[in-house]
């Protein structure tokens, strides 16, 4: 498989079935280096429609900044998410052309610098909140980030 990830379709189907049967909206399983997460949005019942109609009927929130950040799909509440403590522009390396602070797969210690955010001409070091492995980098170097935006996953 192209990404090197193998998975068991039957297991996922079984989880989906459980999801349907149980009214759950999310199941996440983690074991060693593996993780499976299945989720479902409830849309079936007519009542739900009314219940959610009010907020849904209003205009959708404005796009966050000019280009929607690629991390939009990731929830800032992800347990491994490192979120931005400020508005600014994110950089992955200490200076242009230099090697990045971390890459996917890098083992980091708590307090280790992960990236910089420039705000008001100041470069602020964003540090790992805990030890772990960088499993995903959610921003492109040089792009703007807003407060609370997920930057990396450290798990």
């Amino acid at each position: 498989m192209n990404s090197g990830i193998t998975f068991d379709p039957a297991a996922i189907r079984e989880l989906a079935k459980i999801l349907r049967e149980t009214d759950l909206t999310e199941i996440e399983l983690v074991e060693k280096d593996s993780r499976i997460r299945v989720a479902r949005q409830i849309t079936a019942a007519a009542i739900t429609h009314v219940a959610t109609a009010a907020p849904m009927a209003m205009p959708a929130p404005a796009p966050a900044m000019a280009a929607p950040p690629i991390s939009a799909e990731f929830d800032a509440k992800h347990p491994g998410a490192v979120t931005s403590p400020m508005v600014g522009v994110a950089y992955l390396s200490p200076e242009p052309g230099a090697a990045p602070f971390v890459q996917v797969g890098t083992q980091v210690a708590a307090g280790q610098t992960l990236l910089l955010i420039e705000a008001m001409k100041t470069f602020n070091q964003i540090k790992a909140p805990k030890s772990g492995t960088v499993t995903r980098i959610l921003i492109e170097p040089g792009t703007p980030v807003e407060y609370g935006e997920p930057l990396m996953l450290v798990e």
Partner: protein
């Protein structure tokens, strides 16, 4: 200063005023950047703006008052100008300076004027020099009773004698006529000597039943200054305005014109820029300057209703370097407007009542304007000001405006939280209010009477 219209403006505020600014921008073809705390991610202005940036957590000091975050948000979105609204950083001279230092336009006055008017003493000094009326009285200490009599006769009774070194009510005596003056003079001096070891006293007009009347002004960067008449904001509770009117039920057009001419001449001399409001106490035909607000005010819509002007549009034009394009004589006043500030508070205890608004229904029809960021399903966050809607009506006469306000308050629905709508209904039904017979003390007594 640019001479072309702005392309993109950052709105450094929240709630109804952020929406108000967004609307003006959108109608001018200007793109908007909404900034918001995490508590306001689903706010109306965030939903409607062209772009939005989350600038911090709920606490205002870390979001709406966070200058660095605001300037960073402007930088990363390419906004050319910042509108501060009211409250938050709108009267922060340092912020205005920082905005301009970053090459952006601050949609408001020059920093030095914000600073000048932010200090009550320097503001009064400036106004005195510019010939704007302050509380009339002796400019310094009085030497003799004869001198006191002469000043009192000039400014008319009642007067109050105050200890020059005074404070806390000691050494203050009121005289309602010349017969009472001598005793007041002696007692005040005795009290002053006893309390402060200094019997110097001065004399001022005593305002026992003043109205709060304010004047809306607007100035461009080409030396043109106009005023848009007065608002009567006497209905206050704990210095919070609840109901505002344009014009004042007490003021004549001649009085307004005279004050306006005086003020605009002064501000032209000062080189003032953008919108501003001079607040006065008014009693018996005399104005006494209190302070100047160097920003848009909550109650600006009543002025817009009677003058047919869009003040936020004018702010944006002026900030972009445009000329006003009209003179004082072209500003006319038509009918009467009233604004009720509807807050998320218990209408009797005034306890805050944030929470989810299940149903929001705004009144409609002729002569009705609603400025509100509410919508059905919105949750009013507990972190900020409790103002949730401004209900504004216009009528050919004050009586028609009151009748319209009454029917609008009856139509309006904000279900799920408590609001001050019931209090406004009681105010509109009150004969004294209907007669325009109120001072700045009226509402406190009215609320106490009802409770």
């Amino acid at each position: 200063m640019p001479t072309r219209p702005f392309q993109k403006v950052l709105i450094a505020n929240r709630g109804e005023i952020a929406l108000r600014i967004h609307r003006a921008c959108q109608e001018m073809g200007i793109r908007t950047v909404a900034v918001h705390s995490t508590a306001d991610a689903s706010a109306m202005h965030v939903r409607l703006a062209d772009e939005s940036v989350c600038i911090g957590p709920p606490a205002a000091r870390d979001s709406y008052l966070n200058m660095a975050a605001l300037l960073s948000a402007a930088a990363i979105t390419g906004a050319e100008a910042i509108h501060p609204g009211y409250g938050f950083l709108s009267e922060n001279a340092n912020f205005a300076e920082m905005v301009e230092a970053h090459g952006l336009a601050f949609i408001g006055p020059k920093p030095e004027h914000i600073r000048m008017m932010g200090d009550k003493i320097s503001a009064k000094d400036a106004m005195r020099k510019l010939g704007v009326p302050l509380v009339p009285g002796s400019l310094g200490a009085l030497e003799t009773l004869e001198e006191a009599k002469s000043v009192a006769a000039e400014i008319k009774y009642p007067i109050i004698i105050k200890a020059a070194a005074g404070g806390g009510g000691r050494g203050m005596k009121v005289a309602h006529s010349e017969e009472e003056l001598e005793e007041a003079w002696r007692v005040a001096r005795t009290e002053a000597r006893t309390a402060f070891g200094n019997d110097e006293v001065y004399l001022e007009k005593y305002l026992d039943r003043p109205r709060h009347i304010e004047l809306q002004v607007l100035a461009d960067t080409h030396g043109n200054v106009v005023h848009f008449g007065e608002r009567d904001c006497s209905l206050q509770r704990r210095h919070q305005k609840l109901v505002e009117e344009a014009g004042s039920p007490a003021l004549s057009a001649a009085e307004r014109d005279e004050l306006g001419a005086n003020v605009t001449r002064g501000l032209r001399e000062l080189g003032y820029r953008n919108a501003g409001t001079l607040e006065f106490l008014w009693q018996d035909g005399q104005f006494a300057f209190i302070e100047m607000n160097t920003r848009l005010q909550v109650e600006h819509p009543v002025t817009e209703m009677v003058c047919g002007v869009d003040l936020v549009r004018e702010q944006l034009r002026v900030a972009a370097g445009e000329e006003l394009g009209y003179t004082q004589s072209e500003i006319t006043f038509s009918g009467h407007a009233i604004e009720c500030r509807i807050t998320a508070e218990d209408p009797e205890s005034f306890a805050p009542s944030p929470g989810k608004v299940n149903t929001y229904h705004a009144p409609g029809g002729l002569g009705v304007r609603v400025d509100s960021a509410l919508y059905s399903g919105y949750s009013v966050p507990p972190h900020y000001d409790s103002l949730v809607a401004k209900l504004v009506v216009h009528g050919a006469t004050r009586a028609q405006a009151i009748a319209r306000m009454r029917r609008c308050l009856a139509e309006m629905v904000v279900d799920g939280i408590k609001t001050t709508i019931p209090l406004h209904i009681r105010i509109m039904n009150d004969p004294q209010f209907q007669a325009g017979d109120y001072t700045i003390h009226w509402l406190e007594r009215f609320v106490a009477r009802q409770g």
